[in-house]
């Protein structure tokens, strides 16, 4: 028997496999037993009801996708009344993803979802900060610090701060998030990208640009997860491009304590469940009894820190 338990701050998960926000909802229970997952991470909610972006909202790019869904949300009241009771049928920690356009709005929403039935709050700071110049909070350490401090003071629940690859200051953002009171980092969100139909010459997303996710994002998100795991003491949760157990193993070796799986579920709804059983098989075959024994085992001892943390190539 392999021990797959993993600890994210005060939360102990029965295994490290969970969905990425936005790629998971109640409907997946029609296809798989979502009770097997390590955690349930909901689609990001906003305080008020909100429509999303114009269609097309998703387009394919060589073995990956771009999305610009735009966080349609039924609002916090609907979430508390309907979504929480649904997930509380399962003995799986519920992680609520939240978003807002100002730090104060973030704090207010964070406080409103600090209710029984919610185990942790994922703070999706990849959205535009309208107090500033509209750039995402997660792009800069200063904006990240302000928003994380405010949400920290509005809730006693564990806070998972979700970082963005659209920054040149990954380590600095990670460090201020930790310093401001984050209990874990989720690394990372999608990367801003674009695609144009060469026949119509129109952008292939209604919102012109959107986030890249799927296998082609993995090396970028893995690099960030590694940098973060090297820099902070709080747990890092890897997210980006996972579609097989080998991707999970790679993230674990890089130093993450758990992983989120997203886009792959759109193609194979049973991806998370399959990876979970493949992970147990893999560890057993490798004679690894405990998941923790593989985490952070990357062989980088002879590499100088300057190389590990370089943000430019080569």
């Amino acid at each position: 028997m392999v021990n797959l338990r993993t600890r994210i701050g005060d939360l102990i998960l029965k295994n490290p496999i969970m969905p990425a926000s936005g790629t998971f909802s109640e409907e997946l229970a029609d296809v798989i037993d979502i009770g097997q997952l390590g955690a349930h991470v909901t689609k990001t909610i906003t305080e008020e009801k909100r429509e999303g972006n114009p269609t097309p909202r998703i387009c394919e790019v060589n073995g990956s996708i771009l999305n610009s869904i735009g966080i349609p949300s039924k609002g916090v009241e609907h979430f508390i009344k309907h979504t929480i009771p649904f997930y509380n049928q399962y003995d799986v920690p519920l992680v609520t993803s939240i978003s807002a356009h100002t730090s104060d709005d973030f704090a207010r929403l964070c406080n409103k979802v600090t209710v029984p039935g919610v185990a942790a709050i994922e703070v999706n700071i990849s959205c535009p900060n309208i107090d500033d110049d509209g750039k995402a909070f997660a792009m800069r350490p200063s904006a990240t610090k302000t928003v994380v401090q405010k949400v920290r003071s509005s809730s006693d629940l564990p806070l998972w701060v979700k970082l963005s690859p659209n920054t040149g200051e990954t380590v600095e953002v990670a460090l201020v998030a930790e310093d401001a009171g984050a209990d874990a980092l989720v690394v990372s969100n999608t990367m801003l990208a674009m695609s144009i139909d060469i026949t119509s010459r129109k952008p292939r997303l209604g919102n012109l640009m959107g986030g890249l996710s799927g296998p082609s994002l993995k090396p970028i998100a893995l690099r960030m997860a590694y940098q973060c795991a090297k820099s902070v003491r709080i747990p890092v949760i890897g997210c980006g491009g996972i579609s097989t157990v080998y991707d999970v193993i790679e993230y674990l070796i890089a130093g993450v304590k758990a992983v989120q799986i997203g886009t792959a579920t759109f193609v194979h709804p049973s991806t998370m469940i399959n990876i979970l059983s493949d992970l147990e098989d893999y560890l057993r075959e490798q004679n690894i009894r405990n998941l923790n024994d593989i985490i952070g085992t990357v062989q980088d001892a002879n590499t100088i820190d300057a190389v590990v943390f370089m943000e430019t190539a080569p």
């Binding site: 009770g35 998703i58 193609v267 709804p269």
Partner: protein, 281 residues
């Protein structure tokens, strides 16, 4: 497929799994005319408890030249629990459908479904009308099958550019429908003529419900007729999809909801919607 164990649930009222991911063996996958292919698969009983108007999300296998990543939604053209058979009629339009054409007899295709809200035939709907064009007829074919099973009277108006691509008329006749064909080349497919044909029927035996799919002009025509004569109806809509299950919010369209306009997911809240609820595009 996973097995539910007692220790990971608190209560027993979790939703039952109703959508299946299966590997089906292909019995036939070949063109039936210049534009359309027929895919016929040997399907397990689990996915054949489907209903007219529902769809499957099909994994189109990647090839060197065609590399679809996401699944492609395809409405059911025919199904038979007795024969263990499921059919799709598809038009080759892009990467996904082109990749699908490479699959041969005895190859395996991965299907996810059945998905979506089906058509309804209410008990007091005796005289039914189907109006469709092109591949929209494929979506409506299982409805004709169901109307036949329920012993309802069905008139089908099949519209097409020319008689060469009008492949469904015989299919509908076999399912017991009265078929009226209208084509662009004969000049009979114009909306005024179609309206005339429908109004003749309304004044004759009457029409209790109308169904359509695939054409904006036909939707508008039926909405007008539906309002004028107080006849209910349904429309099956299409939209580009990613997950097909209702999770990703990719496939939304706008709908009338009283005086408001709301966004609904075609995959989960549809693909069959009330005739007057749908917005022309």
């Amino acid at each position: 497929m996973s097995i539910q164990t007692a220790d990971n649930v608190k209560r027993n009222d979790q939703p039952a799994r109703s959508v299946f991911q299966v590997e089906a063996i292909i019995k036939r996958n070949s063109p039936i005319n210049k534009e359309y292919h027929l895919l016929n698969v040997d399907a397990p009983q689990s996915i054949l408890r489907c209903k007219p108007g529902q769809f499957f999300h099909i994994l189109c296998p990647a090839r060197a030249a065609h590399q679809p990543y996401l699944r492609r939604p395809m409405s059911i053209f025919g199904y038979s629990l007795e024969k263990g058979e499921l059919q799709f009629l598809y038009k080759v339009t892009g990467n996904g459908t082109r990749a699908l054409t490479y699959l041969k007899k005895n190859d395996v295709v991965n299907l996810l479904g059945p998905l979506g809200i089906p058509f309804t035939i209410k008990p007091n709907w005796v005289n039914l009308l189907i109006l469709a064009r092109g591949v929209g007829l494929a979506t409506l074919a299982p409805l004709a099958q169901e109307a036949n099973r329920l012993e309802r009277n069905l008139i089908t108006i099949c519209s097409a550019r020319n008689s060469d691509v009008l492949m469904s008329d015989n299919h509908f006749r076999k399912l017991g429908a009265e078929v009226i064909t209208v084509t662009d080349t004969e000049g009979t497919s114009k909306m005024e003529n179609v309206r005339h044909i429908i109004e003749d029927r309304i004044c004759g035996d009457g029409i209790d419900a109308m169904y359509t799919c695939g054409s904006n002009r036909m939707l508008q025509l039926l909405q007008g007729i539906g309002t004028k004569y107080a006849i209910p109806g349904q429309v099956a809509l299409e939209q580009q999809m990613a997950c097909g299950l209702g999770m990703c919010q990719c496939c939304v369209r706008s709908f009338y909801c009283g005086k408001k306009i709301v966004q609904k997911r075609v995959c989960r809240d549809g693909p069959v919607f009330g005739l007057q609820e749908a917005m022309a595009w």
